[in-house]
């Protein structure tokens, strides 16, 4: 019997938490070299706390992955007196800011684990994670995210955003519709950089055994959402406003797929008893719109998307043959042969593709990471189609198209179930 084991919490962090004591609100900031943006974000957090939660005991917990630009010092050094002077607000209480450098390389999962541990030790009632890149954060985000937790007893509050119709395509074309179809809740942003959760959800999630399995480091945000759903916690959404646009590069897609799709696929096995019983999706309570679409012009290299799709289909034949059904792969090859003006990756084919990938992931027909990587070119083909089909669409048309895709995911869910049992 092991009587003692190493704690992942650093002694110095623990000492800081002892000094903080019990809190009502915990704001988590996972950082790594965010000096450029972090100052105003912390100001906005302090402003939001002073404005909407002046009586609550609050702490900002910074879990840092080894910044070399002074990010942690900026977090803990921001004086609430600056906020008071600028906003003419009065602070009843001391607002603590504590910081810890967690071991290992920067990983959102490890950061999150430190934040969850702090939430449990401090008996935090309501917690919120804020992205250090959300430069257009407004103080009111604190109220929109924490209010439903502290006032209305919800356990998870996910954001909805006002964003360009061509942003967040991985979410709108895969993660959202698949999560919705399988888990039964229409959570528009199941993987988001800011979200709020209750202390009880934090404790339950912290206690789940996945932290030591290697997978605990990746996609923890989505994993928390799924845990809330499967644990039958109360979930709602809150419209925050415009999402900060973050430049993404082609090389970012695979890591993004790992965090989102990889996490989703890897959860399906353990969560099978839950999602297999879901027959329809339902709305979650939402403050504000589910989403708001911006339409101003945005430059995207559609051509490059299709080229990467074609390259993938031609170079990964053996990989796709081990993942996909013969009919699905044949259809992929057929559309790959179409001229650009005729090329379409239709919704039904896309859904079948994703479901077959999920089933293959479950059986580990090849290395699971290779399965995820192989999805990248196919996703780009789907993106190309989405761009073409919505290039002149109005906001409501875009929403309708996304809704149609969601319904397709729901309609074909029996197909996934059939493959699941067949593979078994």
């Amino acid at each position: 019997m092991k009587l003692a084991e190493d704690s992942f919490l650093a002694d110095e962090f623990l000492r800081q938490l002892i000094n903080v004591g019990e809190v009502d609100i915990l704001v988590g900031l996972a950082t790594h070299n965010n000096a450029r943006t972090i100052g105003p974000i912390v100001h906005a957090i302090q402003d939001g706390l002073l404005r909407w939660f002046p009586r609550e005991r609050a702490v900002i917990v910074n879990a840092d992955g080894g910044s070399r630009d002074g990010t942690p010092q900026l977090v803990t050094g921001v004086s609430i007196d600056d906020v008071r002077a600028a906003s003419n607000l009065h602070a009843l209480r001391t607002l603590h800011s504590v910081s810890t450098r967690y071991a290992g390389s920067p990983a959102s999962g490890v950061a999150m684990r430190n934040v969850l541990a702090a939430a449990e030790l401090l008996h935090a009632k309501a917690c919120v994670m804020i992205s250090p890149e959300s430069v257009n954060i407004e103080p009111q985000w604190l109220s929109k995210l924490l209010g439903p937790i502290s006032r209305d007893g919800f356990d998870l509050v996910t954001p909805t955003y006002r964003r360009h119709k061509f942003e967040g395509l991985l979410i709108t074309n895969l993660v959202y519709p698949m999560t919705r179809a399988l888990y039964g809740l229409r959570i528009r942003e199941p993987y988001s950089p800011e979200f709020a959760f209750s202390g009880r959800l934090a404790t339950q999630f912290l206690g789940q055994g996945h932290w030591n399995e290697g997978t605990g480091d990746v996609g923890v945000e989505l994993r928390l959402t799924l845990a809330a759903i499967t644990g039958k916690y109360r979930v709602c959404q809150s419209l925050l406003g415009e999402k900060t646009h973050v430049e993404r590069h082609a090389a970012d897609l695979v890591p993004a797929l790992r965090k989102t799709v990889g996490t989703l696929f890897s959860s399906l096995g353990a969560d099978f008893p839950v999602w297999s019983a879901v027959t329809a999706s339902e709305r979650v309570p939402t403050t504000g719109a589910d989403a708001e679409v911006l339409l101003e012009p945005l430059r995207i290299n559609r051509k490059r998307m299709r080229e990467m799709f074609l390259t993938g289909v031609s170079e990964l034949v053996s990989v796709f043959q081990s993942i996909l059904s013969p009919s699905t792969f044949a259809e992929l090859q057929r559309i790959a042969s179409l001229e650009e003006e005729e090329f379409r990756y239709p919704a039904e084919l896309w859904v079948k593709t994703v479901y077959e990938f999920a089933a293959s992931y479950q059986k580990s027909v090849i290395s699971r990471d290779h399965i995820i990587q192989a999805l990248a070119p196919l996703f780009r083909g789907r993106v190309f189609t989405f761009l073409i089909e919505n290039r002149s669409s109005s906001a409501s048309d875009v929403e309708n198209n996304i809704e149609d895709l969601c319904l397709e995911f729901e309609r074909l869910k029996p197909y996934l179930l059939q493959m699941w049992s067949t593979r078994e």
């Binding site: 800081q16 009843l92 209480r93």
Partner: protein, 546 residues
């Protein structure tokens, strides 16, 4: 015991605030009197009190508990005679106890002969002794102090058919300090009592003496000029006597009342008091440290006066709206507890009769920089009665024993000036001096020990203060220093046990000696000094280098 000859005696004083009427009735008329108070001087002396602040005892219609004075040179017949007062004064001085009396400079009763003359006609010699106007539009924007009862600072006088100015109740017309005759007269009044031997005055409502158009009519330079004039005469003719200012103002506005050491000797630190209560509920030292950091330096011969409660409502004038709402929500959930901009409750009920937090608050009262004032009855944890009107609920008879009338009076109960507290928790059978004297661990005995320790050193009354800033915000820690003596005070503001690490490197090598038990604690070294503290616990450590 002779009175100390130290000109700065007020810095070391332990002041006890009491109304004669409330303390002890010697002649069975149901009203406390001078003789009754005199009979209880040994009690106060044993407690450790070195000065008594007597609330107004002048002839008065008693529509504001004696703050509406009808004759400045006499005493109300209910309390005895001038001779009785002189006897009380002498007996107190024999025990080394000084007497500070109330002096209401700002206004009189509307039944004072001066006002009766002033209103009788516009040509009367004393017409200009008060502030009259044909309209009620002068001094627009001046705040109303008694918000619950007054709608204006002007009142219509049907006799002289004009308006008169009153910052308090309408039956308390303001004196006109622009009139030299008024200033002269009020000095004569003070001189009357000083010649009798009183040791000082608590000057009531001093910010409001002078009015000027286009101002807040508070804290005006002209008001300070009047006060400096009084102080100058006092120093010249009665050195060693003390003036205590009642000025409910922000620290920056309070500072001028000390002048350059040529105005008041002492002033109540009003803004600190509600913040002590706030800090306790918040379990956060921030309200206390902030207000003290905003408190300006005062002349070396001057002194702040600290208190937890008094005869008035716990005032929430000098706090922000956010703070006021918080105080109401946490200390006065029932609206009957609220009056004007304050809370009319005694100390023990405010703290839910929690002995530990009562001790902590008194510990801070005795260790923060200033002279402490104990409100009568709070040393035994008396309760209140919010069903009595105005602020009368905190002015009930002193509870001496569990017998009839709580030992306050042998009169028939219905003759008492006010009913005794009788509920099962705070009622006189449960809370009284006799039972607490016979109980070794009573609040009374604890207060006596607290005062004894406080008086064992001059550091609390005369020392500097330096705040420590431990990361645990629930701990209020500071160092008091005077001459060669250093005392470390550590207060746990939390209802739960706390650990705190104090940076005491400056005091490396010192041995902390806990002042109540006189036990040594580990020597201070290089590493942060760790203390673990129980709920609401506090420590006073004398730091000794041996």
């Amino acid at each position: 015991m002779p009175l100390s000859k130290d000109a700065l005696w007020y810095k070391d004083a332990i002041i006890y605030q009491v109304h004669v009427r409330t303390f002890h009735d010697s002649n069975s008329d149901g009203i406390g009197d001078f003789q009754g108070l005199e009979e209880k001087l040994d009690y106060l002396s044993d407690l450790g009190v070195t000065a008594i602040w007597l609330m107004p005892f002048f002839p008065s219609p008693l529509r504001d508990d004696g703050y509406d004075i009808a004759d400045y040179n006499a005493v109300h017949s209910s309390y005895g005679t001038l001779e009785d007062f002189r006897k009380l004064l002498g007996s107190a001085h024999d025990r080394g106890i000084r007497i500070i009396i109330e002096m209401v400079l700002n206004h009189t009763s509307d039944q004072h002969p001066w006002f009766e003359e002033s209103r009788s006609s516009q040509d009367n010699a004393r017409r200009d002794w008060y502030v009259w106007s044909d309209t009620d539009t002068r001094y627009q924007g001046t705040r109303i102090i008694f918000l619950d009862t007054e709608k204006s600072n002007w009142a219509w006088d049907p006799i002289s058919k004009s308006f008169y100015w009153h910052r308090f109740f309408s039956h308390q017309p303001d004196l006109n300090y622009d009139n030299p005759a008024v200033r002269e007269q009020m000095w004569d009044v003070m001189k009357f009592w000083l010649e009798m031997g009183v040791d000082g005055f608590r000057l009531d409502a001093v910010p409001y003496l002078v009015e000027r158009e286009g101002t807040s009519c508070e804290n005006l330079p002209e008001t300070h000029a009047v006060l400096k004039e009084l102080r100058s005469k006092l120093d010249e003719q009665f050195p060693g006597r003390m003036l205590l200012a009642e000025a409910n103002q922000w620290p920056a506005d309070l500072r001028p009342y000390f002048g350059d050491g040529d105005e008041f000797h002492m002033a109540f630190h009003f803004p600190l008091m509600p913040r002590m209560f706030m800090a306790l509920k918040l379990e956060d030292r921030k309200p206390i440290t902030e207000i003290l950091q905003q408190t300006p330096e005062i002349p070396s011969a001057c002194q702040w006066s600290l208190f937890l409660r008094n005869h008035d409502e716990l005032t929430l004038e000098m706090v922000t709206d956010l703070e006021r709402d918080y105080m109401y929500d946490t200390y006065a959930q029932s609206k009957t507890m609220r009056l004007n901009l304050g809370i009319r409750r005694r100390l023990a009920p405010l703290l839910d009769n929690d002995r530990r937090s009562i001790e902590l608050m008194n510990g801070m009262l005795m260790s923060l920089p200033g002279t402490p004032i104990i409100y009568y009855g709070d040393e035994i944890g008396m309760g209140d009665n919010t069903n009595l009107g105005d602020r009368n609920g905190v002015r009930t008879p002193m509870q001496w024993n569990g017998a009839s009338n709580g030992g306050f009076s042998t009169a028939s109960p219905e003759r008492l000036y006010a009913p005794l507290i009788q509920d099962p928790v705070y009622g006189y059978p449960a809370v009284n001096v006799l039972s607490q004297k016979t109980s070794g661990h009573s609040l009374l005995n604890w207060m006596q020990r607290l005062i004894t320790v406080r008086r064992s050193t001059g550091v609390f009354g005369r020392g500097s203060i330096e705040f420590l800033h431990p990361a645990n915000h629930r701990i209020l820690a500071y160092v008091r220093s005077f001459d060669n003596e250093t005392v470390l005070v550590v207060n746990n503001l939390s209802s739960t046990a706390q650990a705190v690490e104090l940076d005491l490197r400056r005091y490396k090598g010192n041995i902390p000696i806990e002042m109540f038990g006189r036990n040594m604690f580990p020597r201070v070294g290089d590493v942060p000094y760790l203390l673990t503290m129980g709920p609401y616990q506090f420590y006073w450590f004398r730091l000794r280098r041996i």
